[in-house]
């Protein structure tokens, strides 16, 4: 009986692939997220740089404000098939460990965010930063990876809480954005520290460390509470 049960890793892979395959076939979430990110950048440009002001000093802030809002959109969409097509009911009757449901969801959100960042980071650099060096983009990529960890872990947990709520589309941003403020502060600080020729690596390291700590803390919170999320 036990021998027939797939390993923890194989179950995780199956769940993650299910989400990614579904997204690749429908492209419901990803296209909307990328377009939203581009539109949000335009809004920032016309709201703050309409008179030709140089926005390079706030480019990190623009990038992370855009990504935080885009993350809310992606996280909100991430549980939709589970609810609308009753996938969750099916998953809950299988003997899949409950932590895998959260981890696979976090993995999918991580992948969506990464896909958006592949477009958004170069765009912000082109639109707002003067004199960006290619090496800096790698450092900003590391910030994206660290920030995505925290955003996806917390996002998958909070999206679960909003799943069965009334007015969930409104509830999720209200729940998610205040907890996301530390990520926005640290990630935009780290991005700004290596943008446009200002190479303040000590500040960059401090912010990256903070992003790591943030991911670990919310990882622990999610680990301690996941059983109670899927209790029924």
């Amino acid at each position: 009986m036990n021998a027939a049960r797939p390993s923890w890793f194989r179950q995780l892979r199956a769940l993650l692939l299910k989400d990614l395959r579904l997204e690749l076939r429908t492209r419901d979430t990803l296209v909307a997220m990328v377009l939203f990110a581009v539109v949000a950048m335009m809004i920032f440009q016309f709201a703050f740089g309409g008179r030709g002001q140089d926005l390079s000093a706030v480019s990190g802030g623009i990038l992370w404000a855009t990504l935080a809002l885009t993350a809310v959109l992606g996280v909100g969409r991430s549980w939709v098939p589970e609810r609308e097509q009753r996938v969750l009911d099916g998953l809950l009757v299988t003997p899949v460990p409950r932590d895998l449901l959260l981890i696979s969801r976090a993995g999918a959100i991580f992948a969506y965010l990464l896909a958006v960042e592949v477009v958004a980071v170069p765009l912000v650099t082109i639109f707002f930063v003067r004199g960006q060096e290619p090496g800096d983009l790698l450092l900003i990529g590391l910030v994206c990876l660290l920030a995505n960890l925290g955003i996806s872990v917390l996002g998958s947990l909070l999206a679960c809480l909003a799943l069965f709520a009334r007015a969930r589309e409104l509830l999720l941003p209200v729940l998610f954005l205040p907890s996301l403020l530390p990520v926005v502060i640290a990630a935009s600080g780290a991005t700004q520290a290596v943008s446009g020729g200002t190479n303040d690596l000590a500040e960059y390291r401090g912010y990256c460390l903070f992003l790591g700590v943030y991911a670990v803390i919310f990882g622990l919170v999610a680990y301690a509470t996941y059983e109670h999320v899927f209790d029924d």
Binding site: L154, L157, L158, L161, A162, F164, A165, R166, A167, R168, L171, V174, L175, L177, P178, S179, L181, P182, I185, A186, G189, G206, Y207, F210, V213, Y214, I217, F218, V221, A224, T225, H228, V229, D231
Partner: protein
């Protein structure tokens, strides 16, 4: 029996709190020395800091009872958690208002984004206001369970918010408590401790009052349901 005991406990706490608050107000305004730099406006410190500390403790109580609720599923623990968070939220509003008044007097402006503690309390306000939005959006047992989970996540966000705001801004807030001890005279410290005790009393009084009210509410709903079943 239990109701009588809780009512008596509430009466004792209420009376003690009233006495402590009166003594604290008298001491702060008539006995405690005036600050050499800031003058009379420094008196707001006794209220501002006490409310801030007790507010944070209220959120900690909310998270601890949230954890206890998840372990036992006893609705009474959820009552304590949600009431404590409600009081913490009200205290946070007061912290922001008193902080803003203090900022106007000290720095000449109602709001400064460079003060990490004040900014943190605004973030905390948003975090815990969302707690009540979540509570009102979910029904039944899920409401209790999800509120408990969120109370833990929100409490984890508090130090992270403070730290992130602090590293991002220059530090201009008057630092009264340092690792080397309290940076104020003994007379000031005594009256601060009295006002802190009074604020703890206010927290405990409201907590007990709300708990009794919720219990009465639940009892009344049970009676109503029984009457409806009989009719």
């Amino acid at each position: 029996m239990t109701d009588t005991r809780s009512t008596r406990r509430l009466a004792i706490t209420g009376v003690l709190t009233a006495i402590l608050t009166a003594v604290a107000c008298f001491g702060i305004f008539f006995v405690a020395p005036e600050d050499a730099d800031q003058g009379i406006i420094q008196k707001i410190f006794y209220f501002h800091v006490s409310i801030a500390l007790v507010g944070l403790v209220a959120f900690a109580v909310g998270a601890i009872y949230g954890i206890r609720y998840l372990r036992t599923r006893d609705a009474h623990l959820d009552d304590v958690s949600s009431i404590a968070i409600g009081i913490g939220l009200a205290f946070s509003v007061l912290v922001v208002i008193t902080g803003s008044i203090w900022a106007k007097a000290s720095w000449g402006t109602w709001w400064v984004w460079t003060d990490p503690r004040l900014v943190t309390f605004v973030i905390v306000l948003l975090l815990y206001a969302a707690y009540f939005v979540l509570r009102s959006s979910v029904e039944g047992e899920l409401r209790l369970r999800y509120s408990a989970i969120y109370s833990i996540a929100a409490f984890a966000s508090v130090p992270l918010s403070f730290y992130s705001v602090r590293v991002a801004r220059s530090f201009v807030h008057p630092v009264v408590f340092t690792t080397g001890g309290a940076n104020m005279s003994d007379a000031m410290l005594v009256w601060f401790l009295v006002s802190l005790a009074a604020t703890v009393g206010v927290f405990l009084t409201i907590l007990q009052l709300e708990l009794i009210q919720r219990r009465a509410d639940r009892a009344m709903r049970r009676v109503k349901m029984r009457l409806e079943a009989m009719a």
